[in-house]
Amino acid sequence: MTAKLIMQFGGWILMRLATDPDPTDEPRGVSGYSFAFGDEPDLDRVISFQVPAHFKPRSHTFPIGVRVRRAVRQEDQTEKRLPALEGAPMELLGKPRLENRNWTLTPAGFEPIVPFDLRINGKGITLRRRAPLIADQPDKPVWEISESILQQFGAVGVLYEPATIGNATGIWDSLQVAVDRVKALEKDLAKLEAKKKRTAADEVAATIIRARIAQLNIGIADPSDRRIAARYYVERFNFPMQGEAEVQGDQQKTLGGTILSDAKNPWQIGFWIGAWDPDALSAYVLGALEIPYAS
């Protein structure tokens, strides 16, 4: 049996995107249910596995960061743990976005993440690989690529999976999350309003909190609203990564062998994104990456 490196990964991500029926590039959010408030930067659609530099997530956001949870070399029904990779932060490089563009590229829920350029920063080892939509035309613009190819790399629909979400995140009651969030924000607001001398920054912070509370309350009033219901859904992805790869570090020492990363040996990745939290503009990711060994 060929040896395989298997990494399980997961964590909360940032996904600051406008939602239908807003145009894809709506910067602040108007008709959908996700918004940039106050002095927050414009919505950028970028999927961030780690908190970007100079950016502060909203208060009460679950800690952002996707990490390798478990890494093993698997061969002949035996497993050898790889501590160099366990706990390693994972990043998606190059401003990856869910590319649906208001259904012009794919139906809703079937969109790919473009570009998909994954880097894993372990101890003494860095792995990086791209997953171009067309292996020999990695720079072809996404809007020129056929829907059938996009869907090979796209999600398989927006799937209602409350148990998947509950088991992964501990969230079984989306409405309760919103109710608790409102309570926490109201406390924050009361503190701000109790200040004797409020600065301009305090006023902006209060504006943001009030806007968040108002949006959460829309969902609380009607839990079938996407502000609440979205947290029970996942989008599942599964595709080969057969683009350019980079491996830096002592593979023998950290990985227990040499991995394959040429065009004939794709890395296979499968994961879901779900538990979308439109208030925090974040979501949860859980999945696994499989890499073949040469030796």
């Binding site: 239908d20 145009p23 590039d25 910067p27 208001n102 012009t104 139906p107 629909g157 504006t207």
Partner: protein
């Protein structure tokens, strides 16, 4: 074949001349209702596009920007529901065997044109404009509190001065009841368009599911089929409830939403005299014709900045192409389900969302004149004279494809224009890519039917 002179018409149930007269009246009212829904929809969109979005635009603070966002959300929601009403009226028209009506006069339109006795004009958001929107959506009865409020701004106010749209729909309902159903609902059920589980379910679409067992509303809009008196009634009730409201206390009616907006706007303006929510957008902007004298007389304002004119031209083309596709969609002949999906996938959600709205928003940020006199441009919503239903499938699709290709070519030119700011160019680039993609998708649908 009998000669025309000797042929006697077959008996029609009931009082035939009266039935035909009522039917014609009904068709006329529905045709006018379609124009009105289209007319107010464009005005609401125009006002929404004129609202500021950033502190850097001046005249607003962060808290006020949140209010502005709420107003924009409301206006876009109401505009979507007016589009829905246009679709529902079209379903009513085709159910009785009449033609859809997507035409209307260009702006500005004099008050005497429609039963609400108010002019139609593309204007930036302001207290007067919001008050006009309140009047468009006037119910037949207004409670004391609202009446007192409106009396402050409308001298000798009485709802009957403005409730023309409400009265129109009530007469439409009465006429539906007064005509023999067997003679009335003669249109093909396949012409009915409905949201959610419609007759042309697009592939792979997943809509939010509710437990009511009926097609769920999509983004607060719900298109229902009309096949008999009961379904016609339901559709008319929906239009009345969402517009003027089942009663004047309905907080979700368009009337109540605009009245609330007016109250909030007046309160904020009283609190902060420096509050300026809208960009300085020209009323009824049009592409320059050089005929400035006539423009002053008719309330049209020509846009003379050549770069802005490039974007206006794009808007005009995108809008007329969308209307052309809607005409064909609702009056399709021998299109297959796959063809209809091809039209639907281009005309509905994408063209409105990725074309009309971004272009409208961009225009209200661009200088209208050369040299810049502080006025901004806006979407003209001009319907060219030639725009009519293209009756033959093969040629209609070829004409539409030609329009889409020209739109893509113009968008490609516009995104290369270095005179635009990087932010505008970025939006225009995405727009070009989206138009190009929509054209490719449409072309694929044509190839599938060997129409090229």
């Amino acid at each position: 074949m009998p000669s025309l002179k000797t042929h006697k018409p077959q008996h029609i149930a009931g009082d035939a001349p009266l039935q035909v007269k009522r039917r014609n009246r009904l068709a006329n009212l529905l045709t006018e209702a379609a124009e009105i829904e289209h007319d107010v929809m464009a005005q609401y969109l125009f006002a929404a596009f004129s609202l500021k979005k950033a502190i850097s635009e001046g005249g607003v603070n962060y808290a006020q920007l949140e209010e502005l966002r709420g107003w924009a959300t409301t206006m876009l929601l109401v505009a979507r529901q007016e589009m829905e009403h246009l679709g529902l009226v079209t379903n009513l028209l085709t159910a009785i065997g009449e033609a859809p009506n997507f035409r209307r006069p260009n702006f500005p339109i004099p008050a005497r044109t429609y039963p609400m006795n108010l002019p139609s004009s593309l204007d930036a958001f302001s207290p007067d404009v919001v008050l006009r929107f309140v009047c468009y959506e006037m119910p037949r009865r207004v409670n004391k509190k609202n009446r007192r409020y409106l009396e402050q701004y409308l001298p000798n106010f009485a709802p009957s001065q403005y409730d023309g749209i409400a009265r129109t729909y009530l007469e439409i309902r009465e006429l539906f009841h007064s005509i023999e159903a067997g003679d009335l609902f003669i249109g093909p059920p396949s012409a009915q368009f409905l949201s959610g589980g419609n007759s042309v379910v697009a592939r792979g679409r997943i809509y939010p599911q509710k437990t009511t067992g009926k097609p769920p509303p999509i983004y607060d809009t719900e298109l229902r089929p009309v096949t008999d008196l009961q379904s016609a009634n339901a559709v008319i009730e929906q239009i009345i409830d969402e517009g003027e409201g089942a009663d004047d206390d309905d907080p979700n009616s368009h009337f109540a939403r605009f009245l609330d907006m007016h109250r909030q706007l007046m309160a904020e303006t009283a609190k902060d005299p420096n509050f300026k929510p809208a960009r300085a957008v020209l009323s009824n902007p049009r592409l320059a014709s050089g005929d400035e004298g006539a423009a002053a007389a008719t309330g049209i304002h020509y846009v003379t900045n050549p770069d802005t004119a490039q974007v206006m031209e794009l808007f005009d083309m995108a809008y007329s192409t969308m209307v052309l596709m809607l005409m064909r969609y609702f009056a399709h002949t021998d299109e297959s389900d796959a063809d209809l999906i091809g039209l639907q996938d281009t005309a509905f959600f994408p063209m409105m969302t990725v074309g009309i709205r971004p272009l409208g928003e961009i225009l209200t940020q661009l200088p209208a004149q050369e040299p810049d006199a502080e006025w901004r441009a806006g979407p003209s919503f001009v319907l060219p004279l030639r725009l009519q239903l293209l009756p033959h499938r093969r040629s209609a699709w070829r004409v539409i494809l030609g329009e889409l290709q020209m739109l893509t070519a113009k968008a490609e030119q516009a995104q290369k224009n270095q005179n635009f700011s990087p932010a505008v160019r970025e939006r225009l680039t995405l727009l070009y890519e989206n138009f190009a993609r929509m054209t490719m998708n449409f072309q694929d649908a044509m190839h599938a039917r060997k129409m090229q």
